[in-house]
Symmetry: C2
Amino acid sequence: MAAPSGADGVPGPDAGWLRAMADEVRAFDRSSTAERVADLLRRRVIEGDLPPGRRLSEEQLVDVLHVSRNTLREAFRLLTHEGLLVHRLHRGVFVPELDEEELVDLYRLRRTIECDVVRRLGRLDPVRLRPLHDDVAAAEDAARRGDWGAVGTANMRFHQHLVALAGSRRIDETAARLLAEVRLAFSAVGSPQRLHEPYVRRNRALLELLVDGESERAAKELEDYLQDSEAELLAALRDRAGERSGDRPRRTP
Amino acid sequence: MAAPSGADGVPGPDAGWLRAMADEVRAFDRSSTAERVADLLRRRVIEGDLPPGRRLSEEQLVDVLHVSRNTLREAFRLLTHEGLLVHRLHRGVFVPELDEEELVDLYRLRRTIECDVVRRLGRLDPVRLRPLHDDVAAAEDAARRGDWGAVGTANMRFHQHLVALAGSRRIDETAARLLAEVRLAFSAVGSPQRLHEPYVRRNRALLELLVDGESERAAKELEDYLQDSEAELLAALRDRAGERSGDRPRRTP
DNA sequence: CTTGTCGGATTGTTCAACAACTGTCTAGGT
DNA sequence: ACCTAGACAGTTGTTGAACAATCCGACAAG
């Protein structure tokens, strides 16, 4: 039903044709207005244009986007479900501020999913690893150019393609949510180079372990990888919190 | 921010009081008509009152529930995101019919999360296992009474409390969604006794492994457990599908 | 048996208005 | 100077109605 497979009838030679076409149609008429608005806002939030803690006014956005309030609210709901906005009753929607506790929680589930996916992989057809190769190559290229934003994007796509190897819709969706939230944390931190550069190399190392079918070792490596990433992000977050409370003098000295 | 913990201030002796009260208030003022409607429908769907494949008419529900169409649609969105309803453009919302592929996908993520949570547990304070004890006891009690619906409910709560041991909000929420979908699959299958009875004993066995701190063995046991559960559900689903296509004669014999 | 067309029914989207709630500010008391 | 109660303005929650777009079955023509 909800599965986009065209596997209803004959699995004849037309299957590829039909399925590709069906997917295209689906992508085209995807219910539009609300989702288009959601796409727009999603980009803004992930890109960091909207700072964490900021409230998104319905009235204001309705004027700018020329959509009805109900439609806008539907877009809000989509993004809220993705974790990119938080909704507080009678107060509106806000760009979430990930505190340390939230970040730990986020990485907890991320480790669970990604490591488990990798551990269960075993040896697999090299063709399926192609998207991962492309992502690593893109990251290396962007790193050479010094475009750390692009490096971050490529790294995120690497992880998305990594979990996609499990071939599970629900895992893909859950991972997508988590990775979007991770990017949110990224955007709240300065110095993107220090944040992304080390993981270009580690992604390649991870990929090579997968090519060799060393899924168990790959899972172990990924575990450390994510541990380090979390620690670094946590440190950056703590620094920022320190600055914030530091530059404003105490009320009663 | 979004975390509903009341652990902001002093962890003094009042913590229990305050937290309980805060939870109660929160449960009360989460009114938001849409959420109340969603709660109502959620129960109906999980309980199996609404058969899979059934369409929920907006007009009809608006009349019965005395809410506006927009509000009802908001409730639909909430449940759609939980996987308890599917939305087909210009056709309405339906109670999903889980086919075999979907069920496999569902259990794939369920295994990933539950097993990983258990594997990482290690030895832990017996107090934290108390909810699990209660759930197993409730299931055994209901089984003695022959109330297999209650057995199913207790088993589901056992798993919810199991993953709660990880102490992660995101894991709790994801598991809740998955378990709701599992119940959906249950309701689509007859003979609840055969479906639930074996797992009462297996839940107790699992719990005892946890009491002994044998988290690695517990994870392994849980893996088999879920494998069996999936297989049984798949078989039941296949049977039902067979009956359906069987009682209608072929068009061109 | 397939293809084209029509009409009823249902959903998608928008709008405007009112009710309910939140955070802030002020007035008054201690 | 500090605290509390109450009013105020601004925002969100909810409703009902309206119109456009789309689906579905039926019916007719090739």
